[in-house]
Symmetry: C2
Subunit: 384 residues, 2 copies
């Protein structure tokens, strides 16, 4: 069982008449859902703000309508906003679709006297209490619903929750902590953007993170690098991808090493420290670790603990990478965040130029599974 929620709202030019509610709106609901409603409660909260709760009689699984009238005296044109929340268990009305909700919205709009309702809006049926919820968010916190055809993998490592799902629009999709990491259909958009059109033939390459294996495969399939080292901390991600997303990682995770590559399960930061001590250098280092944090406030001094932890990680990855790059020609390639969070991008850019005195190229690509434009950077240490 799940709980279904329908949200409707109406911008009204005059305050709601109790008469319209009693005689028209409630009977529209009754006719539409073929139920008999009774008023559970009615409370006047203040001024014109009121709340009415209705439910249906003699049912084992209730059907609840909450109607709220919100006073809006501050705006000239709109006197009140009416919100209606309909909630019922999925055992009822299993077939109710969005087209029906639009029809309901239309009928409810007709309850108001002519010219009374400025605008009506209905939302598709929202399903709650799902074992695997497919409502995710973009970088700027917009809601986007995916279509999971099948959940292929769902386990938690000590680092994160890992899921692999099958979708119609994106193929198989890897989710880490409920954020889309990569989907099968993304390769040409995400992975190639990260590569910035460089030639990797004969180059020494280090991939920090990259547990989906997409980047490793793209480089090894299309170039003849001197050597690629990939280091990811989460063995369970690699195990899951190897089993369920072979089109993304190829066969490179089967042996974990070959003549010109090695996949290491371990801490990228510790690994870099050791290489710095050895004075090892690379032509290219990929930062395929966490996204930059999205500031929760325009005041950057207010970053949360989790944000600070992530920025410290990004700073550390950049700092160590710059020390490991071949002077002058080495490049650090990384994804950053969505175009819709310019403050996160600006913070990264300032970090690169001001703290690390590097220059950068910026690339923007719409990544289908992210449902938004993602921003990538190629960072070059300064010539000085």
């Amino acid at each position: 069982m799940t709980v279904k929620t329908i949200l409707l709202d109406f911008r009204l030019k005059k305050n709601l008449d109790q008469d319209v509610l009693d005689n028209k709106i409630i009977s529209t609901f009754e006719e539409y859902f073929k139920i008999s409603l009774f008023r559970v409660s009615h409370n006047i909260l203040n001024n014109f703000s009121q709340i009415w709760i209705y439910s249906d009689k003699d049912s084992n699984s209730p059907f609840i309508i909450s109607i709220k009238s919100w006073d809006n005296t501050q705006e000239k044109e709109i006197s009140s906003i009416l919100t209606m929340n309909i909630e019922y268990s999925s055992k009822r009305f299993t077939e109710l679709l969005t087209c029906d909700v639009i029809e309901l919205e239309k009928r409810l709009t007709e309850c108001f006297p002519q010219g009374f309702c400025d605008k009506a809006k209905s939302f598709p049926v929202i399903e709650r209490g799902l074992e695997f919820s497919d409502y995710l968010t973009t970088s700027d916190n917009r809601i986007v619903q995916y279509n999971y055809e099948r959940v292929l993998f769902s386990q938690s490592s000590i680092y994160q929750d890992i899921m692999i799902v099958d979708t119609i629009d994106h193929g198989r999709m890897l989710l880490l902590d409920d954020l889309v990491n990569l989907a099968e259909n993304d390769t040409s958009f995400y992975t190639q953007s990260l590569m910035f059109g460089n030639d990797f033939d004969g180059k020494d390459i280090l991939i920090l993170g990259g547990g989906d294996g997409g980047l490793l495969k793209e480089i090894l399939d299309n170039y003849k690098p001197a050597f690629v080292t990939m280091i990811d901390i989460d063995e369970l991600v690699i195990k899951a991808v190897k089993e369920h997303m072979p089109s993304v990682c190829g066969e490179y995770f089967n042996d974990m090493q070959g003549s010109n590559y090695e996949v290491i399960i371990g801490d990228a930061f510790q690994y870099m420290e050791e290489r710095i001590k050895e004075r090892k250098t690379y032509d290219f280092i990929f930062g395929d670790l966490t996204d930059t944090p999205v500031p929760s406030s325009s005041n950057m001094n207010e970053i949360g603990i989790d944000d600070k932890f992530k920025w410290d990680l990004i700073c550390s990855a950049l700092s160590k990478s710059i020390r490991l790059l071949k002077p002058a020609e080495g490049k650090y390639l990384t994804h950053c965040n969505g175009k819709s969070v310019p403050l996160a991008l600006k913070t990264f850019e300032n970090l690169v130029t001001q703290k690390f005195n590097c220059s950068y190229e910026r690339k923007e690509t719409f990544v289908p599974s992210f449902m938004e434009i993602w921003v990538f950077y190629e960072v070059s240490p300064s010539a000085s």
Copy 2:
């Protein structure tokens, strides 16, 4: 003013203790939002299904929390689902972001005894009562929120509501009746898919609909057609696109005709009737009219009135187009619907093959502004 709604839900292994609600959940809300709550009402609807309403004191704009406990005795593992709806006017907590909602979800989860809560889910803040709502739907009724930076045009013609908005992810975007029609960044995905890689040099072409002008521009910019006739019924769409989306329609709507093209404001069906009488033929006809309807039920006999009207339109466009195509070599090119509504696609395919005895090629492309894979068809009349 708008009304903000936060939805939270919890899958519980045991039914909710009144004690947990009174002493932990409510005080978590109070601490989190720094308010003082009182219980507005509490109703036992049946068995274990209950509803509690809380609000805050002494405020001109109320803050309302509805908590509902849904009995779930049918499932073995999960004994109850708890839904929480938080609603408040946008005048309160203007800065509340999704990251905060996740923090709230985490704190609420901690209210339950160890192992009591199987899964928690929070949704990003939903904004209601907007003048221009950016919550739209995919073909299969999933919710997708866009980011409108600016509304450039919003008017209704006698045919439809027309909007042009600026977005970060898709550039400028044309909406007809709250459905995305085309965005600036879509050209290579949508328009080129519709063209199916054909060579239009020296060809006679008819475009049915196509009011955004993207197809007309793509053909005239890249080929030397004998003549292109475009006929769209809605002059206001053309006016809006000409003014606000010149990168899509180019300058072709300025004069409405040139040496090798003409844009006609009129009824495509009547126009086709007249051409049939004249025995005129075309090499290519583009059906860029309405999408195929998505059946509201798996029983196709139950199609609604609006669906029937649309299927009749599609049938009529196909039927007339087939009569206007050059025998054997002529082609009808059209978009259809989202990959997520296979029944709508199947119905179209059956129409093409069974009713009209034609063959077809099918193409699938992820169209960024649609946020899903869209399906296109190239229909060829049978050789017989």
